[in-house]
Amino acid sequence: MISLLFWNVGRLSRRTLITRLARANDADVILLAEVADKPIELLKELNKTQTSYFFSPGIGNTKILAFTRFSDQFFRPCWETDRLTIRRMRLPGLEEILLAVVHFPSKLHWSERSQAMECTELGAEIRKEEERAGHQRTILVGDLNMNPFESGTVSAVGLHAVMDRRIAREGSRVVQGREYPFFYNPMWGLLGDGSRGPAGTFFHRHAEQEAYFWNMFDQVLVRPALLDRFDFKDLAILDDTGAERLVKESGVPDRDVGSDHLPVLFRLNLRVAA
């Protein structure tokens, strides 16, 4: 199993926490957005007690940081913008996958409509890269700054991410004569206080008519080709590093300790059948 950890660190120096989270969850791949620590400092901290992580830099994208337990030669970027890095993860003996890591503009600066438009671009970029790779074994992870139920996430021309893996297994859907592949969005299953773990990854209380309080901005989307390699029970929103809580007593993210976002952990079984 490969363990992947994503965290929007909220422009705060959190290298000790990142290290604890990575160690406590046995993370093989650490993906970070809004990092205040320099990569070299973070790498030193990650490898302080045991040298096991490599820094896997982007070329054009330097805002999303990646650290891996394997050499960066197995995790090369193939398509990047300032908000996206798509990596080909090719590990010996394991299925190659495309890992798209994204950090979308905040709702503070972009309207929901603009975010939805941007999702059409992102969806198209991923499809192009899949065409180049010759497969659709793709995971999209990151801070979308959108909820699973928003237009950009759901619409066919956007990310086309559905809440039911049985629908995702259909592979694709034709709308107006154009075919769009599905993503499965397991984050639906972690929404609200009836789910295991926190009710979302980001909390925002504001004085206007429409307020969700909890948002699921940090998401993991899985293409149908990887559904058999992903188990919902291997997905978690983390609120604890093992040494400290990342949430206040009320359960909302504690920025004084961690970040305004909570980390997301997931695992994939990429072993090639014998």
């Binding site: 054009g60 090369r76 913008t81 080909r88 939805a116 198209a124």
Partner: protein
């Protein structure tokens, strides 16, 4: 048969933004011995959300064949049949750098608009001269040669 068409119909006195971009794209390859090349990628309209309903949209990509055809989306332009104004959708680092240098006001989402060829060329020049562009090209050259 009477010809109702005006005689000057086929006279084209304006270069399209795409033509200018193609010229510039070919120059990058010459400067880097084709280690880093620039490609233009047409983005077909996608439903009702295409960029401000512009029918023509092209991405300007820096690509490096020696690095598994790595591609970096530096910016995109979008325009309609009238060609100008041309809307630039910029890399955020480049945008930050050049918006403070130009007299042009960024629009929604940090987009820049060139209202004529002169402004279009000015913005292109600033994008190509930006620190971010230079950094990415140098990083590609360095990795491709190692």
């Amino acid at each position: 048969m009477i010809d109702l068409w005006p005689s000057e119909l086929s006279t084209v006195d304006q270069r399209s933004p795409l033509t200018i971009l193609k010229e510039q794209a070919s120059l990058l390859g010459e400067k880097t011995q084709n280690i880093v090349i620039a490609e233009l990628e047409y983005t077909p309209p996608a439903g009702g959300w295409r960029q401000n309903n512009y029918p023509f949209k092209y991405g300007f990509l820096l690509t490096c064949p020696a690095l598994g055809n790595y591609r970096f989306g530096l910016f995109s332009i979008a325009y309609d049949i009238e060609m100008y104004p041309v809307s630039f959708i910029l890399d955020s680092d480049v945008a930050e750098e050049i918006i403070e240098q130009t007299h042009l006001e960024p629009g929604m989402n940090g987009e820049l608009k060139a209202s004529n060829e002169e402004e279009f060329i000015e913005i292109l020049k600033r994008i190509f001269s930006s620190r971010k562009t230079a950094r990415v090209i140098r990083a590609l050259l360095s990795q491709a040669k190692s």
